[in-house]
């Protein structure tokens, strides 16, 4: 098994449960690297990675960059503004030009669903999807899984509800694939106008009321409600959204059991989530961010040909690659 994940990481849909577990297991030893005084291992020394971000991003872009740097890769960041994309260059041409400079991997965030796959089919380098349109955001899904597994010791059998704007959420799709593949019971909850058609085909339960979702779930993954959804007419107001669908301390207190709260960020406090929840004991939101670096290190390591069983050694500073 020289390429345990294949050439690219485009989503969690194409991965098997074994592959997902492999990434999570590989992330474990990498967590510790970020806790050291000298946060660096030589695993990807000499590899060149381009972070191609056609959409703004803070958390994901910086997380990838830390993951790359802590693995000693050489990295370049390219954004849409100020690049040749603004001059009308196509995605393929941009990538092929980068590839002509002999790069090894592309990490791409793009506003169009399918863009990562489109690119992956046309270049030799490994492609990591850092979010494509409203399709998938696999490393976010993986870090959510890792965070849930950290807290409960397992995924299988847990009840996880993804809440909010499912229609426009790539995080939701990656979560649904990852969670169902690992045997969780999965639900979604949100206004019907923000639930995609045939969402039941993912094998999920649909809750119309957040109170029902809270009573049912062990874990809520609360999605960001993008402010532009109100202007586009999907919901009447952010105020009403909070009143009807907001994850508040009162609602959590009314449940008969304790819940764990995830949020992929950036948060709209007082819209989808109450600050007292975000900052309170239910929340593992910052833990997600910490795990994001480890998960991305694991993905980059495995795509670069690193052997899963050598990840522990790689962490100790020896060459893990072939």
């Amino acid at each position: 098994m020289s390429e345990p994940l294949g050439k690219d990481l485009l989503g969690l849909e194409p991965l098997s449960a074994e592959q997902i577990r492999l990434i999570l297991d590989t992330a474990e030893p990498f967590k510790e690297v970020s806790e050291r005084a000298i946060k660096k291992v030589p695993t990807l020394r000499g590899k060149t990675i381009v972070n191609l971000f056609f959409e703004s991003s803070t958390r994901t872009r910086i997380s990838f960059e830390f993951a790359e740097k802590r693995l000693s890769a050489d990295t370049v960041n390219v954004g849409a503004s100020g690049s040749s994309v603004q001059k009308g260059e196509t995605l393929v041409d941009t990538a092929r030009n980068l590839e002509a400079m002999r790069i090894d991997m592309v990490v791409m965030r793009h506003p169009s669903s399918g863009a990562a796959r489109f690119l992956a089919e046309r270049i030799q380098s490994n492609v990591v999807n850092a979010g494509d349109g409203t399709h998938e955001h696999p490393t976010q899904g993986l870090l959510d899984l890792l965070t849930i597994r950290d807290r409960f010791g397992r995924i299988e059998g847990l009840k996880v509800c993804v809440c909010g704007d499912i229609l426009h959420s790539r995080v939701a799709r990656s979560n649904l694939w990852g969670l169902t593949k690992l045997g969780a019971k999965v639900a979604v909850c949100g206004p019907q106008s923000l639930l995609p058609r045939n969402i039941e085909d993912f094998g999920v339960t649909v809750f119309r009321r957040i109170e029902e979702a809270i009573e049912w779930a062990d874990v809520l993954n609360v999605l960001r409600l993008q402010l532009e959804r109100m202007n586009a007419g999907f919901i009447p107001s952010l105020r009403e959204y909070y009143r009807v669908f907001g994850v508040t301390l009162e609602r959590l207190a009314a449940a008969s059991h304790e819940l764990v709260i995830l949020h992929p960020g950036p948060m709209n406090r007082g819209v989808e989530i109450d600050s007292r929840v975000a900052d309170g004991p239910h929340s593992v939101i910052l833990r997600q961010v910490t795990n994001g670096v480890a998960v991305r290190m694991a993905v980059l390591y495995l795509l670069a040909g690193g052997r899963p069983e050598q990840a522990e050694a790689a962490k100790r500073g020896r060459e893990g690659g072939e």
Binding site: E13, T90, L91, V92, H110, P111, S112, S113, G114, A115, R117, F118, D132, G133, T134, H135, E136, R170, R173, P196, R197, N198, I199, D201, F202
Partner: protein
């Protein structure tokens, strides 16, 4: 021009309920007779067409030929040649060119280029509104006088109910249909494929079936109100078929067409973000495909049309969201219809010829669709059982955007004759 005797073919002429093995004689560009023992005029070409079908030439009432303005995708000449290679003797060119065909001189240009092409006949369709902007009616009287056979704002649906009503009423004066691309714009906005399970999985914005059906219902109601002939382009949903069936029962002057891709493919074809499966209306669900097939069988859908929509390679070699809608269809339509509709028992061969020739001629009041003695000899000879593989690189069209590349089809045109002149021979 030498007389031509096509001897021993299966002659199918739905205009006269004819389906028998016999001969067809063409003299001086006209059908001189159908039947055995006609004698062979001096110098005639005698062609043995045993095992082949001889039928009135196919007529495509929905074609985008891109000229003027987008000649890198198609020209009237290349499109007319692609049509001939597909067995079509006539095509109707949609007016959404650049500039649009919204005035008499533009119509005249299409007529002139069509004649110069010397392949399939090319009939212009005029715009409904100036610039296809939906604001001011085009001058239908002058469009028709210059050669337009219908009006349509295809590509830019007529959004305003008032404008559609006026167009239907005004078109009655000239006896032409108003062909509408049925799409409620606020429901379809931003959509790139059918709204359903596949769009949800791929994270692509959907176009709901209701976006089409609302406008089908509106157009039917307006046709009933005005008694103007509305022709509904490229029907794609079960709901549309149901609405049309009911309207026809009530005697509303409505006709409808469906495209080969809508009776062949479902939204599953978009898997993998294949931009050659991106079209508008989008590929729908299996029950929609079945409804289209049933509508073609029972006559709810009158006509098979291609919606031939050439696009440059670069335009389709894009992210799915950014690629244009549409596929080429002239050179695969007959093969798909024979393979999917006749091959799977949905239509008989005479029913197929009716939907691709006799009825389209009737719906748009065109020459053709018949092998009656004395009519201009627009004839297709096709091999109904020949197996062939779609090779887009060999298309006569300038564009290659087809989801059917590599498909093995049964049946293709081997000779296409317009006005007695052979314009294509395999």
């Amino acid at each position: 021009m030498k007389p031509l005797l096509l001897r021993g073919g299966r002659v199918i002429d739905p205009s006269r309920n004819l389906d028998e093995v016999t001969d067809v004689l063409i003299v001086d560009g006209r059908i001189a007779g159908v039947g055995r023992n006609q004698g062979t005029p001096d110098g005639a070409e005698v062609r043995d067409v045993r095992g082949l079908v001889v039928a009135p030439g196919l007529i495509d009432i929905h074609t985008h030929l891109r000229e003027p303005g987008q000649e890198d995708r198609e020209t009237i000449a290349s499109g007319a040649m692609a049509a001939a290679a597909g067995g079509f003797t006539s095509v109707c060119a949609m007016p959404n060119t650049d500039p649009p065909i919204d005035n008499q001189s533009a119509v005249g240009f299409v007529v002139k280029q069509g004649a110069a092409a010397g392949a399939a006949r090319v009939y212009p369709i005029g715009a409904v509104t100036l610039g296809q902007k939906g604001e001011q009616l085009a001058e239908f009287g002058e469009l028709v006088a210059a050669g337009a056979v219908a009006v349509s704002d295809d590509g830019h649906p007529v959004a305003s109910g008032h404008m559609m009503r006026t167009a239907l009423e005004y078109a009655r004066s000239f006896g032409i249909p108003v062909a509408d691309h049925c799409e409620e714009p606020t429901l379809a906005r931003g959509g790139v494929m059918h709204e359903g399970a596949v769009a949800t999985r791929l994270g692509l914005k959907g176009i709901p079936a209701a976006a089409e059906e609302i406008m089908v219902a509106r157009n039917i109601l307006l046709a009933g109100h005005t008694l103007g002939h509305v022709h509904l382009c490229h029907m794609s949903t079960r709901g549309s078929v149901d609405l049309i069936r009911r309207a026809k029962d009530q005697g509303v002057p409505v006709t409808a067409e469906a495209c080969p891709h809508h009776f062949t493919l479902t939204h599953e074809a978009c898997e993998g973000y294949d931009t050659n499966a991106k079209m508008n209306p989008p590929l729908r669900e299996p029950e929609d495909v079945e409804a289209i097939q049933a509508g073609l069988k029972d006559g709810t859908i009158d006509v098979i049309a291609t919606d031939h929509a050439p696009h440059h390679y670069d335009a389709k070699e894009r992210e799915f969201d950014d690629a244009p809608f549409g596929i080429v269809g002239l050179e695969t339509a007959l093969g798909l219809a024979l393979t999917i509709l006749v091959g799977k028992g949905h239509l008989s061969l005479p029913e197929l010829v009716a939907r691709m020739s006799t009825i389209p001629a009737k719906v748009f009041h065109l020459t053709g669709g018949s092998l009656a003695r004395g009519v201009p000899a627009d004839v297709v000879v096709f091999a109904p059982a020949e197996r062939w593989t779609v090779d887009a690189a060999r298309f006569r069209s300038k564009s290659r955007n087809t989801p059917f590349a590599g498909w093995e089809l049964t049946g293709r045109a081997v000779r296409t004759i317009v006005d007695g002149r052979t314009v294509f021979e395999a």
